[in-house]
């Protein structure tokens, strides 16, 4: 079973690595976007799906990664991927104290705390000279798309593997326990604070790393797109559609919706917001658990029937 998982994982990774060779520029960009959005959804799913702390501001770390990379390249003459790595490191380093502070807040206050954080950093990026103010920073253009894709793919695969691990580990069980009832979890011996801060750090590191790739991919960074709250709306909608707090949810939701998301956001931004916002609302009423649990229930039924047939 374990071996098979590893082999399947390797095959998928190899295919995703080779596929861009056979695609034109447009198709490549769609592939990049899909991998990016799926990875962001996976990152959101750790703190919000498994730990139950709904964050509407993980884009904070995405923007931080993007700006770290842009500043490292334009002002520090570092190679872009070093800047992107640095973005991940800074995100993680920030997420530790931030997690200790923010995760004391519960429910709406945590959600709003994170939302406001993203907005505040946007204001900072807009007003600061180092970040180029409202016009942002420009990176040297060139053949950036493919390296950015590989970077994003690598992080996406790692994030998926991390989710697989979390779902089957003691850490993941503790996260789910504190999601269901934090006080009870604590009286059953769960180190609640440490556990949730770890989840928060994972959910921060991933967008922190991805942001750098995005900056390199776009060849510029500016406040509105780097801290776009729509990334969080998207992660929320995709994860709910696929199944919140599940291993496959972000993948299913992300693959189904990335293309639509990108097309709408670019061409009909208003409709984009209405459709994605409305989708969240409608899904919560009609399919609150998402596709993944429905599929696994169907699979289980199928298996049970097959087993009975054999007898």
């Amino acid at each position: 079973m374990k071996g098979r998982t590893v082999i399947a994982f390797a095959i998928v990774a190899a295919v995703l690595a080779l596929v861009p060779q056979f695609l034109n520029g447009y198709a490549r960009s769609l592939l990049y976007i899909t991998v990016l959005y799926v990875a962001l959804a996976y990152a959101w799913n750790v703190i919000s799906g498994y730990a139950g702390y709904l964050s509407f501001g993980q884009v904070t770390f995405f923007g931080l990664g993007a700006y770290t990379t842009a500043i490292s390249v334009t002002r520090g003459n570092l190679p872009w991927w070093e800047g992107a790595l640095l973005g991940g490191v800074i995100s993680a380093a920030l997420a530790v104290p931030l997690g200790y502070l923010m995760l004391r807040l519960r429910g709406a206050f945590f959600a709003l705390g994170m939302l406001g954080l993203a907005q505040t950093l946007q204001v900072v990026a807009n007003s600061w000279q180092l970040t180029g103010g409202g016009s942002g920073l420009f990176l040297p253009p060139g053949s950036n798309a493919l390296p950015a894709y590989y970077w994003t793919l690598a992080i996406g695969l790692l994030t998926f593997a991390a989710t697989l691990f979390i779902d089957r580990s003691a850490f993941g069980l503790r996260l789910q326990a504190l999601r269901e009832d934090e006080q009870v979890a604590s009286t059953l011996g769960v180190q609640v604070t440490t556990t949730k801060v770890w989840a928060f750090v994972i959910s921060a590191i991933v967008p922190g790393l991805l942001g750098g790739g995005y900056a390199w991919y776009l060849t510029y960074v500016e406040p509105v797109s780097a801290f776009a709250t729509r990334f969080d709306l998207q992660a929320v909608a995709m994860t709910i559609l696929g199944g919140i707090g599940t291993v496959w949810g972000p993948l299913i939701g992300g693959v189904l919706m990335s293309q639509v998301s990108e097309m709408l956001a670019a061409q009909y931004p208003q409709a984009y917001l209405m459709i994605f916002g409305g989708l969240v609302v409608v899904l919560l009423v009609f399919l609150p658990r998402g596709i993944a649990p429905a599929v696994s229930a169907a699979l289980a039924r199928h298996r049970a029937r097959a087993a009975q047939g054999h007898r």
Binding site: G116, L117, L233, L273, G278, V280
Partner: protein
């Protein structure tokens, strides 16, 4: 810095605070009855604000027409949202709060998109009551004063409604104890719908007043939500007296940062206060400390 300037900024801040207080009262009514934190609150405020701006541009419709209209429309919209969506959330106890948060989060973006479609992304204001009265060294903007007074009147009407009407009694009973209210024959489902509708309508009313003072566009709703929550964080959730104090503090913060820093920083000010208060005193300034 002149004493006169400080006085002026204080007056401006307190007058704006009145409108924030009204907006936060709307949130509090909904939270009290439904234990739902409405993340789409700011969008209802902004929707009404933009509606009144457009009506003013087209027909010079004044506040006495626009505010009741927005109130009624928002009341209907709120009732509809509660009936069609919020009420139908799965009754899974462990995740009830999370699901309602996700839903109002979705609603907030839906309405940002809707307002962008109806009203475009332009910043709007209502150039109505542009004059000012002079009072010694201070000038009192008519628009600010009108917004403050109107907020006060609506807040008093709300207090009377909560205290003396049958609906108000049901709302208070349900806020205190759902089981008890049910036992006393309160139709809790109906009270929830009316409360959400009322909270939404109050948000709309505060929007009609807010736009007398500020320039807004559909994307500023999140700032209003944050400011309203900052008020509540300062005052304590469900604490009506605290709301007034919190609103005054936020009004002052906005007024002073708006003068000494950029308008953008002024928008971030409520948030910074919100975080500081929540971290230092999770139960609010007036709330009880402890577990």
């Amino acid at each position: 810095m002149h004493a006169a300037l400080i006085g002026q900024l204080t007056i401006d801040g307190l007058l704006v605070g009145g409108v924030y207080a009204l907006s936060a009262l709307g949130l509090n009514v909904i939270f009290g009855v439904m234990r739902i934190v409405n993340l789409a609150h700011g969008e209802f405020v902004i929707g009404a604000a933009l509606l009144s701006a457009v009506l003013f541009e087209r027909w010079h419709a004044n506040l006495f027409v626009v505010l009741p209209l927005a109130f009624v429309l928002a009341f209907g919209l709120g009732a509809l949202i509660q009936r069609a969506f919020l009420r139908r959330l799965p009754e899974d106890l462990a995740s009830a709060e999370a699901t309602s948060l996700l839903m109002t989060f979705g609603l907030s973006y839906f309405f940002v998109g809707a307002w962008l479609t109806f009203f475009s992304g332009n910043f709007r204001s209502v150039p109505y009551l542009t004059g000012a009265w002079t009072l010694g060294p201070f000038s009192i903007a008519q628009a600010r004063l009108a917004a403050f007074v109107a907020s006060g009147i609506i807040a008093v009407l709300l207090a009377l409604l909560l205290r003396y009407t049958a609906l108000g009694r049901s709302i208070r009973a349900t806020s205190q104890n759902v089981q008890g209210a049910l036992a006393c024959g309160v139709d809790v489902e109906r009270v929830r719908t009316l409360s959400f509708a009322l909270g939404t309508a109050i948000a709309a009313a505060s929007g009609c007043l807010l736009i007398l003072i500020f320039t807004v566009n559909p994307e500023t709703g999140a700032n209003v939500t944050l400011a309203s929550f900052a008020v509540i964080a300062l005052g304590g959730l469900g604490n009506y007296a605290g709301t007034l104090v919190g609103a005054a503090v936020i009004g002052l913060a906005v007024s002073f940062t708006g003068y000494f820093a950029t308008a953008q920083v002024a928008q971030a000010a409520p948030y910074v206060l919100f975080i500081l208060v929540l971290l230092l005193r999770p139960a609010g300034i007036l709330g009880k400390s402890g577990a």
